[in-house]
């Protein structure tokens, strides 16, 4: 009898811990901000789209050389993104090792941004002359945009209005002719985040 009591007690404690402690640590999300995993996941999806694109399929090692300049992502979302985060959005696709390898096979040179060209002067190279000789023929652009929706959806235990917010993010990439403006390739990913709580928080 005593053994059975011990057994039941332990099961009770276990299930209580399961629902009370273990799961209480994962409440509903309180933020709809873009997370690092979102940016990396979007880059994964878009790399796949680029690898399978007609744009790359139609090129080969003997195609005319393309000089591609990745540009910092434009942020048109409601979230705040630092310059580093915006570069992360671009670099996750344009400068990923697998993409660079693929580009090399297709005779596409990917350039470092002009901000990184300061090192040329250290070696006695005039960056202006260098730029003229290596003018990008195409731009690799990226953009993050979002649609935000928020509404009062109920009452909390202390009778305050509970709000729900949803942010749908769109991450978009393009390869564009630098002077012709023709878009040669377009890749995109989208995701949505939902959070509940008080908007004032």
């Amino acid at each position: 009898m005593r053994i059975v009591c011990w057994f039941l007690l332990l099961i009770g404690v276990g299930s209580g811990a399961g629902s009370g402690v273990g799961c209480a640590a994962t409440p509903e999300s309180r933020t709809t901000r873009l997370q690092a995993a979102d940016v990396l996941g979007a880059a994964d999806d878009v790399r796949e789209q680029l690898a399978q694109s007609d744009f790359l399929a139609q090129r080969g090692a003997t195609s005319p050389e393309m000089v591609l300049l990745p540009t910092i992502a434009t942020n048109r979302s409601d979230d705040r993104l630092t310059d580093g985060e915006r570069w992360m959005v671009t670099a996750g696709v344009a400068r990923a090792p697998a993409v660079l390898g693929l580009m090399r096979e297709k005779n596409i040179a990917v350039q470092a941004p002009p901000t990184a060209a300061g090192f040329l002067e250290q070696y006695g190279i005039d960056p202006g002359a260098h730029d003229r000789a290596n003018l990008p023929t195409h731009l690799f652009t990226a953009e993050v945009a979002s649609i935000a929706r928020a509404a009062a959806t109920g009452l909390s235990s202390d009778a305050r209005a509970l709000d729900e917010r949803r942010d749908t993010y769109f991450v978009r990439y393009e390869i564009v002719e630098a002077t012709g403006r023709r878009v040669l390739w377009n890749g995109s990913a989208e995701l949505a985040r939902r959070a509940t709580g008080l908007l004032i928080d």
């Binding site: 690092a36 003229r132 652009t141 929706r149 949505a192």
Partner: protein
């Protein structure tokens, strides 16, 4: 061995200890299964399917996000299905140019949301092998010109800039079709009726060669 132990301890204490261990094991299992809703690693908590409406979508004063996404998909599919039947496009000796046009927003929804819709249609068309067989797609000069000005050497910019001050190429307006969007809303009580419209219009003649409309109701 077990039998021997039991013989040595007839008060069954080791059995109680074994039962306790078993209980702990089961409790650990319950903890583990009870938390199967825990998000996987990588901050994915709070993620929802972009095509699933939430309460915030339905109750907010703006148009439902899912309706906007579905509208964009519907317009893209309609253009791809009908582009080959537009005489101004299929009879052109060279692929025509499609550029982003104007947005007319007469709703309570921010214009930036409709800019995303239009951008999504544009992107879908670029990826369509049928649409790109009939048209080339051009990025807006307001986006490419500043990039060129920022990145190209000064003397190159002076050389490139034409009398109108443009840095990037401009094309024959006869062969340009612009993707326009018109978005209207009628509000009665707690119900909004939306009329979303997208069209392709020749830049020179202003003739509408394609138009797609969606009427959507939303009750809050």
């Amino acid at each position: 061995m077990t039998e021997a132990t039991e013989t040595m301890h007839p008060n069954a204490r080791p059995r109680a200890a074994r039962a306790g261990l078993l209980g702990l094991g089961l409790a650990a299992m319950v903890v583990a299964t009870g938390c199967q809703n825990t998000p996987p690693p990588g901050n994915t908590g709070g993620r929802v399917d972009p095509y699933r409406s939430t309460r915030a979508d339905v109750l907010s004063p703006e148009a439902n996000t899912v309706t906007l996404l579905e509208f964009a998909d519907q317009v893209s599919e309609a253009i791809v299905a009908r582009i080959a039947q537009v005489p101004e496009i299929y009879s052109s000796p060279n692929p025509v140019a499609i550029e982003l046009g104007a947005l007319v927003n007469n709703t309570q929804t921010p214009s930036s949301d409709f800019a995303i819709v239009r951008r999504r249609v544009f992107g879908n068309l670029i990826n369509s092998s049928i649409a790109s067989g009939y048209a080339d797609f051009y990025e807006a000069p307001e986006i490419v010109d500043p990039q060129y000005e920022r990145l190209a050497p000064r003397d190159q910019i002076a050389y490139r800039r034409d009398s109108a001050g443009d840095l990037t190429n401009r094309y024959d307006p006869n062969s340009i079709f612009i993707l326009n969007g018109d978005f209207g809303e009628m509000i009665r009580g707690r119900q909004s009726t939306y009329l979303f419209e997208m069209s392709l219009t020749n830049l020179q003649s202003r003739r509408i060669v394609f138009n797609e409309q969606v009427v959507s109701k939303q009750t809050r």
